[in-house]
């Protein structure tokens, strides 16, 4: 699968998540789709940088990827914070149901905003240049 295909999947997943999030009973699934979308968007960035993560579903590997790929510190920190939020709140909630409805909806909003930013970065990352983007 190419980087562009991973990016397209991420776009599809967040669109599905936004629709599912409108129903409280489906919001749990929406949160998990956001986690999947975040991983696909990160893998798209990795492809464009010709970076081959050994364990692309491990958050710490994605942290390393974003640290390498994004030069501007405040944006990079926001992305890494967001990735932590999506994993620790949304992905974990899929198994534990730990969040209330309002908190879950807000974290889904934040997760979708994160993925949209990651998709933008993947789209702007020159293929295999290794150049960090802002």
């Amino acid at each position: 699968m190419s980087g562009d295909e991973h990016n397209a999947i991420a776009e599809t997943l967040v669109e599905m998540a936004a629709n599912l999030a409108r129903t409280s009973t489906a919001a749990l699934v929406a949160g998990e789709l956001v986690w999947g979308a975040a991983i696909h968007a990160c893998v798209a960035i990795a492809h464009h940088l010709d970076w081959r993560p050994q364990h692309p579903r491990q958050k710490r590997e994605l942290d390393r990827l974003l640290t390498h790929a994004v030069a501007e510190h405040p944006v990079r920190a926001d992305l890494i914070d967001g990735l932590n939020m999506v994993q620790r709140r949304l992905h974990n909630h899929f198994y534990t149901g730990q969040l209330g409805d309002i908190e879950l909806a807000q974290y889904i909003t934040g997760g979708i905003e994160l993925v949209q930013r990651l998709i933008d970065i993947a789209s702007q990352t020159p293929r295999s240049s290794g150049s960090p983007v802002a």
């Binding site: 710490r60 942290d63 920190a77 914070d81 967001g82 932590n84 939020m85 908190e103 807000q106 934040g110």
Partner: protein
Amino acid sequence: MSETETRLPGEALLEAAEREIGKGNLREGAGLVWDATMEALAAAGARYGMPCGNREEAVELVNHLDDLADPPAPGEFYTYRNLVSFSVADSYREEHENREELLGDPEFRWEPDEYTLYLDSIRRFIKSLNNQTTGNTKQ
């Protein structure tokens, strides 16, 4: 630092957290990060007459702060800016309270370097909360 210099809520606890994490006392350090965040949140909550003695009250306060916040500035992208930052602090709380459980979970457990990864974000969050407490909106 001179003895007369005023410390803002959460700052001293965060410095203590950094020292503990630096010494490898990860669980203790994580707990101090959470304590530092709660101290800064409690001070911000006092401005609005909102209590902040536990996680539930903290979430309510964070929602209130996000309701009051300006829309994301250019380059920023989170509508619930305070909640995203709070989530990072909440992860430190989990690392403190559930560390043994998390150690057995390779997907969620933090490696030692991850305890330092988010400290700058917590520092920015505490600074932002203290700015809100004093009414100084400049970040």
